[in-house]
């Protein structure tokens, strides 16, 4: 379904942030991306979404609906890019919901690209769509909070609403950027238990920091180290494999700090200017 090949992203000084990252995600898979901070996990997702421009490589999304269309994710622009994004349900670390809207309205946002802009401007969602949005909320066990103001929810609740929004979007693939990094252990477990069954219908690609979670729920793990894919396979990693993936980070704790400071770069996205998140 999602096919990323040789994705490369360089800093202006030529240093590689992503070095020929390739990964394939098929139907029924729940792929966990692991790696130390700054390894390029989130950056890979941002490139796929077109939020950060990649320097080279390809990313293609094949959909089975509508006679199996393919989308070239890295080169699309404007309307074509909106068409691509509509087929990818994204879940963020910081939930990123519109806090002053009701929970149900936030879920409705998932359908914006599918209805006529004029209708969306008037909030002209049909009763059938509202019922479907409520059904998405029921799936994440948040339907009783449909009328609450989103800003009054807790972090775990907001992440559930964000997942409901992605479900309501009816995407061809779910992309989750550290969906449980901001949550406590019990909420994290709850979110993983929601994502795992979703993956049986629609593939899920998630960036995680918890090898024990990916071992338990994911069907496959891809590990990225310094911008390179160093592992792609069984989610149950051995102690030695984990040390390989996170090794440099561990070594830095023991050694004095490196002399080259972390580069702070502002990356402008295509539609809205935002600070790139390289975590």
């Amino acid at each position: 379904m999602l096919h990323v090949e040789n994705l490369t992203k360089k800093l202006p000084d030529g240093r590689l942030l992503l070095d020929r990252v390739s990964l394939k995600v098929s139907r029924g898979e729940f792929v966990g991306i692991l790696g130390a901070s700054g390894a390029g996990k989130s950056l890979t997702l941002r490139c796929i979404l077109g939020l950060t421009k990649a320097d080279s490589g390809t990313a293609t999304l094949h959909t089975e609906a509508c006679g199996g269309k393919s989308y070239d994710l890295l080169t699309c622009k404007g309307r074509e890019q909106r068409n691509c994004r509509r087929r990818m349900g994204v879940i963020f670390q910081g939930f990123n919901l519109v806090k002053r809207l009701r929970v149900l309205d936030n879920v409705m946002i998932g359908r914006l690209a599918r209805i006529h802009p004029l209708r969306s401007w008037l909030y002209g969602f049909t009763d059938a769509e509202a019922a479907e949005a409520l059904e998405a909320l029921r799936r994440v066990k948040m339907d009783m909070h449909a009328d609450r103001i989103t800003g009054s929810l807790s972090g775990g609740e907001m992440q559930r609403v964000a997942i409901a929004r992605a479900i309501f979007q009816k995407p061809a693939i779910y992309l989750a950027d550290e969906p449980i990094a901001a949550l406590d252990p019990s909420n994290s477990l709850g979110i993983m238990k929601l994502l795992a069954p979703l993956a049986q219908e629609t593939p899920v690609v998630g960036v995680f920091h918890q090898p024990e979670m990916t071992a338990r729920f994911c069907t496959r793990v891809v590990a990225i180290k310094a911008g390179r894919v160093v592992y792609d396979g069984d989610p149950r990693l051995s102690h030695n494999q984990l040390q390989d993936i996170y090794g440099d980070e561990l070594m830095q704790v023991l050694r004095p700090a490196p002399t080259t400071p972390e580069p702070a770069i502002a990356e402008s996205s295509r539609s809205l200017p935002v600070l790139a998140n390289f975590a």
């Binding site: 519109v98 806090k99 002053r100 103001i149 809205l272 935002v274």
Partner: protein, 245 residues
């Protein structure tokens, strides 16, 4: 540096403390002429008072709409840099121009009457509201806008479904406050040709009808005080509605 400046200014402004006592006495004498207020003119004041209120009531929504456009155009997270710079510059120029000057220019172009007053107040609102709106929009978490555009929404859909809901309470509260400011400004503009209670006041003063002028002052006080109460009440309502509870 400051002391010579003060002395020179005092000399140029013909400040004479010796005469102050004497003039103050004369001034108190004049104030006597204002009392009792001419209650019989209250009925005649109702029409002009209404004109003053309507002028502000018409100018405020017009100004709010204009400011919304300027606010969106002047926000870094919505508009491209060239548009933001242009919009912010226009807002700045407007803020530097007092409403009176805008009105005098408009009166020259459109003639005397409430209509140039409405336009002057609407334009005058942009200097304050345009900047406040643009600043409020720029304070929205960029990640929220990014996440809405990630569902495939157009820029206008992002504005409708993320930007407007997030800034709405601040937007309404500032607009209501501007209505209050516009009532006060409307009285002042009335005196220079926009009609209404301000015009009644300046007319009575120049005809030396001090009791009548006092009545106009009382009506003005009532208007401004009333507008303040209404605006406080409405703003409390809006803030309550926008509260995260």
């Amino acid at each position: 540096m400051l002391v010579p400046l003060v002395i020179v200014s005092a000399w140029l402004c013909q400040v004479r403390f010796s005469g102050l006592w004497h003039d103050l006495g004369k001034g108190l004498e004049v104030i006597r002429f204002f009392f009792p207020p001419d209650w019989s003119s209250l009925r005649e004041m109702a029409g002009p008072a209404l004109v003053t209120v309507l002028l502000a009531a018409l100018a405020t929504p017009l100004g709010v709409l204009l400011s919304l456009g300027f606010g969106l155009a002047g926000a870094r997270n919505i508009a491209p840099p060239w548009l933001r710079t242009t919009a912010r510059a226009l807002i700045g120029v407007e803020r530097a121009l007092p409403e009176i000057i805008v009105l005098l220019l408009l009166v020259a172009a459109l003639g005397v009457g409430p209509f140039p007053g409405v336009i002057a107040l609407a334009i005058g609102s942009v200097g304050m509201l345009g900047k406040l709106f643009a600043d409020a929009i720029e304070e929205i978490d960029p990640k929220v806008l990014e996440s809405v555009s990630c569902v495939g929404a157009t820029r206008w859909q992002v504005i409708r479904h993320a930007v407007l809901p997030e800034v709405m309470p601040a937007f309404l509260a500032n607009s209501i406050f501007r209505f209050e400011v516009n009532i006060r400004a409307s009285v002042l503009l009335g005196a220079v040709g926009a009609g209404g209670i301000g015009f009644e006041l300046s007319k009575a003063m120049s005809l030396l009808e001090y009791e009548r002028a006092m009545m106009a002052v009382l009506v003005t006080l009532l208007l401004v005080f009333g507008a303040e109460r209404v605006s406080d009440w409405l703003r409390a309502k809006v803030m309550d509605g926008g509260r995260l509870a």
